[in-house]
């Protein structure tokens, strides 16, 4: 698998180059890809109830993926499994993606971009968040419940990854980072669009940076890695995997954190506060003075 169309050296086939560029990376490049699917749920409870299903899924995915990504590390004896996943992925591709992205992932003008070299991470982000398949052409893709099952997404990832490579899913604990450093990086790189607390915000002409409320760890990670839609790309040399994990740790901590001062009113600051003072504050006061001014 070569990446002739992929302009970045960061994801070059050559492991030596990759290692040099990604020096700060802590996890070994050859770690089992199965762990890449440790999708950490933001809700602990849900995670507990799903643990059995997750475990089963992990085993399956592990079996499917060991050989696929990155290609250099693929073991020869599982090519059949990989091929099966790829083939299944191609079937899904031909069913749901082909009309906009073309028969060979080359893209269709005015409809959809080329998918050569976008990598599994991009597929994961787009399909897992329900943005793809696209409901309709608009200012930007809308987040909705995923159309494809997790298994189908995995197969699709295998297919796309096999055609041009590209960024892959990370492995390990995606929140293993420095909380405070994550906060600083978040405020420098992310909050300008996604707001202080990940509430999201408006962009130009009807586009918007989505709220991170429902984003799980892997979604945030893959979004940073691939720069979907109008979001800039944060390659591993710009934000190291550790820094990405710090950011995820910060985002998820802030999201789960209680509001010590009472109701958060959307955590969007002065706009909702102004609304509260006029509706509740002045409202209660008007009610009070009406009552006082009236005679018994």
């Amino acid at each position: 698998m070569s990446t002739p169309n992929h302009p970045s050296e960061a994801f070059d086939e050559n492991p030596g180059t990759a290692r040099r560029l990604l020096a700060p990376r802590r996890h070994a490049p050859g770690s089992p890809v199965a762990a890449a699917l440790t999708r950490r749920r933001s809700k602990r409870r849900r995670r507990l109830t799903n643990v059995a299903g997750l475990f089963a899924g992990l085993c399956l995915m592990g079996a499917l993926y060991t050989t696929i990504v990155p290609g250099a590390q693929a073991a020869g004896d599982t090519t059949t499994a990989a091929g099966t996943a790829e083939a299944a992925g191609q079937a899904i591709y031909n069913r749901t993606c082909i009309s906009c992205h073309g028969a060979n992932l080359e893209g269709v003008p005015q409809r959809g971009p080329s998918l050569i070299g976008v990598g599994a991470a991009s597929v994961y982000f787009q399909v897992h968040t329900g943005r793809m398949p696209l409901a309709r052409q608009g200012a930007q893709a809308i987040e909705k419940p995923p159309v494809l099952s997790d298994k189908e997404i995995d197969q699709l990832m295998a297919y796309v990854q096999a055609h041009g490579g590209g960024p892959t899913l990370p492995s390990g604990d995606l929140r293993a980072g420095d909380l405070a450093q994550g906060g600083e990086l978040f405020r420098l790189n992310c909050s300008s669009c996604h707001n202080f607390v990940g509430e999201g915000g408006a962009l130009s002409s009807g586009k918007a940076a989505p709220s991170l409320k429902n984003a799980d760890d892997l979604t945030i990670y893959t979004a940073m890695l691939t720069g979907p839609e109008n979001m800039p790309v944060f390659g591993d040399s710009q934000l190291t995997p550790d820094e990405k994990r710090s950011i995820i740790d910060y985002v998820q901590t802030i999201k789960a954190q209680a509001d010590p001062g009472g109701a958060g009113v959307g955590r969007i600051g002065p706009v909702s506060e102004g609304l509260v003072i006029w509706v509740v504050g002045i409202g209660v006061m008007m009610f009070g003075i009406f009552w006082m001014g009236s005679k018994a």
């Binding site: 970045s8 420098l188 800039p232 790309v233 390659g235 209680a258 005679k295």
Partner: protein, 370 residues
């Protein structure tokens, strides 16, 4: 009501209610007042103040069910207010003693997130109930009266007499004739006034000296650093990325106007690029660098939309097109974001080829245009 012309030196102590001279005491002797009932005395006083109570709706009849109910209501409200006030004290004092600690803990559902709301609930309700109790008391238990008070528009007598007094005083002072005094008074007042505000001059600083408004730490050969202080190489960023960079000088990462955005354009963006006149060579390959400080109000513009090539300022929504030299295409900003000329040094790291060729940040009156 006229003032007595003779005022004895002493009228005795407070124990002997002698006539206090002046005012209504001329009209009503203590003996007369002593014969009046309390109600009449009150009415008399009110009348003296120009107030007439025209109508009184007595409160509920003493002992009536209406009164008992009202008393019960007011009593209940005030008692509840008191109890809630005690509850506040219990929460405030007890937390960390016999109640869970209020101190902040990161876990989602701890007492620390309940402490402030509980305080607010207790105090807010308690105080509001005191207010409600007071108003209930007024409305349900007090008699309702309608009082009319006369308004006194000033009196002609007062105006004429004070006018005469003032003019006479001025005449006696002779200031009208002694012009020199007035002039010297003017000089004295002006001088004193100026002297007293002079120390404010310490606030003034010459903004043009050294032109701090127009300069940044960027200069020829200064490396571009990430927020973490790492120098950047051309292979570090991916196409379609943006990174905030700072000059490699002491405190460069907190210098107010130094923050710069380093973009690596996608091939389509490179193809569509139309740099500003004379700045075609300011970029390096597919990299360009623009000031992060908005030319409108100085906010950091950093909402980069990599597909539309726009940068949006979150404060006033000016939009800049980076493929066209970051010229504003929407919103209140007038000037493009200044471009930082960049190149790569011998070690392969990005450096500035020079400082910004124009002043970064918002416009001001005498900004030098280059």
């Amino acid at each position: 009501m006229t003032a007595h012309d003779t005022r004895p030196g002493s009228t005795g102590g407070a124990d002997i209610p002698e006539q206090v001279y002046g005012g209504p005491d001329d009209d009503y002797t203590p003996e007369q007042l002593a014969t009046l009932r309390r109600e009449d005395l009150e009415r008399l006083g009110a009348k003296y103040d120009g107030v007439e109570v025209t109508h009184v709706d007595p409160g509920p009849e003493p002992g009536s069910p209406l009164e008992r109910r009202a008393v019960r209501q007011v009593g209940m409200v005030l008692t509840l207010a008191g109890l809630l006030a005690f509850a506040f004290v219990v929460v405030y004092v007890g937390s960390g003693w016999f109640l869970p600690s209020w101190e902040w803990a990161q876990h989602p559902t701890t007492w620390s997130a309940l402490y402030t709301p509980l305080l607010g609930l207790c105090m807010g309700l308690s105080l509001a109930l005191v207010g409600i109790g007071l108003v209930l008391f007024t409305k349900k238990l007090l008699p309702h009266e309608t009082a009319v008070q006369d308004k006194h528009d000033g009196s002609h007598f007062d105006r004429v007499t004070i006018g005469a007094t003032l003019v006479n005083t001025l005449d006696r002072s002779g200031l009208a004739r002694r012009k020199l005094l007035i002039r010297s008074f003017g000089i004295m007042a002006g001088g004193l006034g100026l002297m007293l505000i002079m120390p404010l001059g310490g606030l003034l600083k010459n903004p043009s000296r050294g032109d701090p408004l127009g300069t940044t730490p960027w200069a020829k050969g200064v490396r571009l650093l990430t927020a973490g202080g790492v120098p950047i190489r051309p292979e570090d960023q991916l196409p379609g990325s943006m990174q905030t960079v700072f000059p490699q000088v002491p405190n460069g990462n907190t210098a107010a106007d130094a923050a710069t955005m380093l973009f690596r354009l996608r091939p389509e963006q490179v193809a569509a690029s139309k740099p500003r006149k004379g700045q075609a060579n300011f970029g390096y390959g597919d990299y360009v660098a623009y000031s992060k400080i908005c030319t409108h109000a100085g906010c950091p513009v950093s909402l980069y939309e990599q597909q539309t090539s726009r940068i949006l300022c979150p404060c006033h929504q000016s939009q800049f097109l980076i493929t066209e030299g970051a010229t504003p295409v929407f919103g209140p900003a007038v000037r493009p974001l200044p471009q930082l000329p960049i190149t790569v040094d011998s070690e392969g790291y990005f450096v500035a080829r020079s400082g910004y060729i124009e002043a970064v940040g918002p416009t001001y009156w005498n900004r030098k245009r280059i």
